[in-house]
């Protein structure tokens, strides 16, 4: 605690990295500038656009407001870590199939966020548009309204929202089908990333 930098260890996309960062470094800058993982984008740098969304210990987070020092010892999954070898993650595939982007700048954040959304929904989390949040009411269906609300932390200046909602709905259905086929339940929003 005596200096203005920290020696940290980050597990990123399955690989452990030891690095020393100035305490002012955000996780976003550590990924982009120190680890050369430039898939995660910087839009606003103030938590307002979602371009920098990654999964932190399996949950979506805005990397621009996360200090790298405070992420020491934690697990990060970025867009570069979503595919399984050559096989794209179902959310990535759905963005391709449904044209969920135009310029593509917001897309890594959108995809990471959508993966988080699907996991949170599978864990039974309500949203601001869920009519009845009481647990007895059961989880809401992941319809277009729910997707729009849950994805509202990701802005798209190209306005590809209509296709993004379709892509997320399709991917969610596929992930759910994959889970059913595997006979398992969701790992819960606190668990690992969705794999289908």
């Amino acid at each position: 605690m005596e200096t203005n930098s920290s020696a940290i260890s980050l597990r990123v996309n399955g690989e452990t990295h030891a690095l020393t960062v100035d305490n002012r470094t955000t996780l976003l800058d550590a990924l982009r500038e120190h680890l050369d993982l430039t898939g995660t984008k910087k839009g606003c740098d103030h938590g307002q656009c979602g371009a920098c969304t990654v999964l932190l210990d399996g949950r979506r987070a805005t990397a621009c407001l996360q200090l790298a020092a405070a992420a020491d010892g934690r697990t990060v999954t970025t867009i570069e870590g979503m595919a399984d070898g050559d096989r794209l993650h179902p959310v990535q595939q759905a963005f391709l199939d449904f044209d969920g982007y135009q310029c593509g700048y917001c897309t890594p954040g959108q995809i990471c966020s959508a993966i988080g959304v699907i996991e949170e929904h599978a864990a039974g989390w309500p949203s601001a548009v869920t009519a009845d949040v009481r647990p007895e009411a059961g989880p809401p269906p992941l319809d277009a309204d729910e997707i729009r609300e849950r994805m509202s932390g990701n802005l798209c200046r190209c306005g590809a929202y209509v296709s993004i909602v379709r892509a997320v709905a399709e991917a969610a259905a596929q992930v759910a089908a994959g889970r059913e086929a595997a006979g398992g339940q969701g790992s819960g929003a606190g668990g690992t990333r969705v794999t289908a």
């Binding site: 605690m1 979602g50 309500p126 869920t130 009481r134 729009r148 932390g153 929003a189």
Partner: protein
């Protein structure tokens, strides 16, 4: 951004000890407000004490039926918790109405209570602002104040408290638990946030270096039928222009108990005690709801560009209580 030291606290006493005597130290929760303020130059701490790892991340129902929420519980975990959703649905709704899924995964209960205003002058360090630089003036009173306070403000500051969560906590009589060098203490929410007066830079009654350890909600059967509604300039992911947390218990058309609190209208979550007293024991009709809202808003002093908030809050009161009354009748 100024350089700073960073350390993690593993225990409550250690966290408080690390902070003691250092006015340039700050606790770090999720960082979603503090890191932003540091980037903007509004905050420039010399030491960050990360409290996210403290064992304050649980939500428990105590023996007396009250709900104890740890200070480092994330906003997401708070809103997803079955006992919160069952006993205080308006609290879950309020939390879900705030920020975005990403931010709620990071943000903590303690940090949410202490988040700073969204007044644009406060964020812009080249502007005067009594809250940021005491004595420098308040340009908002005659300037940009479309989303500023209508209740409880002074000419020294007209900023609002932006928390959604806090509005539901105010309605449900939350008590904040804190830990100082002298040991633990309790602060009911009305004592926690200070009146603006001529010291807008002093927002809470927390002693210097005090750690928030949690929030307790006393049992409130009325809260089981409660709701939160937020009006904002876009459908999601925006701060409120006005919001309301409401709970209602009626028997035979008579109001037995009612809870009302407003957001984005004052320097703190605004418990509408006058409206509650006006309604209790009286008829549960739209006229009575409107009269109660008017009684509360009689104290409102809108500025040139935020007059709209007075009818907005009035209409929110009538709409919410009418909905809750209809629901009770079903």
């Amino acid at each position: 951004m100024r350089e700073f030291r960073y350390g993690r606290a593993t225990g409550v006493a250690e966290a408080v000890a690390l902070h003691a005597g250092n006015p340039e130290a700050r606790f770090l929760g999720g960082g979603t407000n503090l890191v932003d303020l540091m980037k903007s130059g509004v905050e420039s701490p010399e030491l960050l004490i990360d409290v996210r790892g403290l064992p304050l991340d649980r939500i428990e129902v105590a023996g007396d039926g009250s709900l104890r929420i740890g200070a480092t519980v994330t906003n997401s975990d708070l809103a997803a918790h079955p006992e919160v959703r069952r006993r205080y649905p308006a609290l879950a709704q309020a939390v879900l109405a705030g920020a975005s899924g990403q931010l709620r995964n990071m943000a903590t209960v303690g940090g949410n209570l202490l988040q700073r205003t969204r007044c644009g002058y406060f964020y812009d360090t080249i502007q005067p602002c009594n809250k940021r630089r005491p004595g420098s003036g308040c340009p908002a009173v005659t300037g940009e104040h479309r989303n500023h306070a209508i209740l409880g403000w002074s000419e020294h500051c007209v900023a609002t408290h932006p928390s959604d969560m806090g509005v539901a906590l105010a309605a449900f009589d939350a008590v904040v638990s804190v830990h100082t060098a002298d040991g633990p203490a309790q602060l009911p929410l009305p004592d926690f946030y200070l009146p603006v007066g001529d010291t807008p830079h002093r927002e809470t009654a927390l002693p210097p270096g005090a750690l928030i350890t949690g929030v307790t909600l006393p049992p409130a059967p009325v809260a089981a039928r409660s709701r939160y509604r937020k009006v904002r300039e876009r459908a999601s992911y925006a701060f409120a222009n006005a919001s309301i947390a409401a709970a209602l218990d009626i028997r035979d058309g008579v109001v037995r108990e009612v809870r009302l609190a407003f957001g984005a209208v004052a320097s703190r979550p605004w418990r509408a005690g006058t409206a509650e007293r006006t309604l209790t024991g009286g008829p549960a009709t739209a006229e009575a709801f409107a009269a109660a809202a008017d009684a509360e808003l009689a104290a409102a002093r809108p500025l040139t560009h935020n007059e709209y908030k007075v009818p907005l809050v009035r209409n929110l009161v009538v709409a919410m209580l009418t909905e809750l009354a209809e629901e009770a009748a079903r």
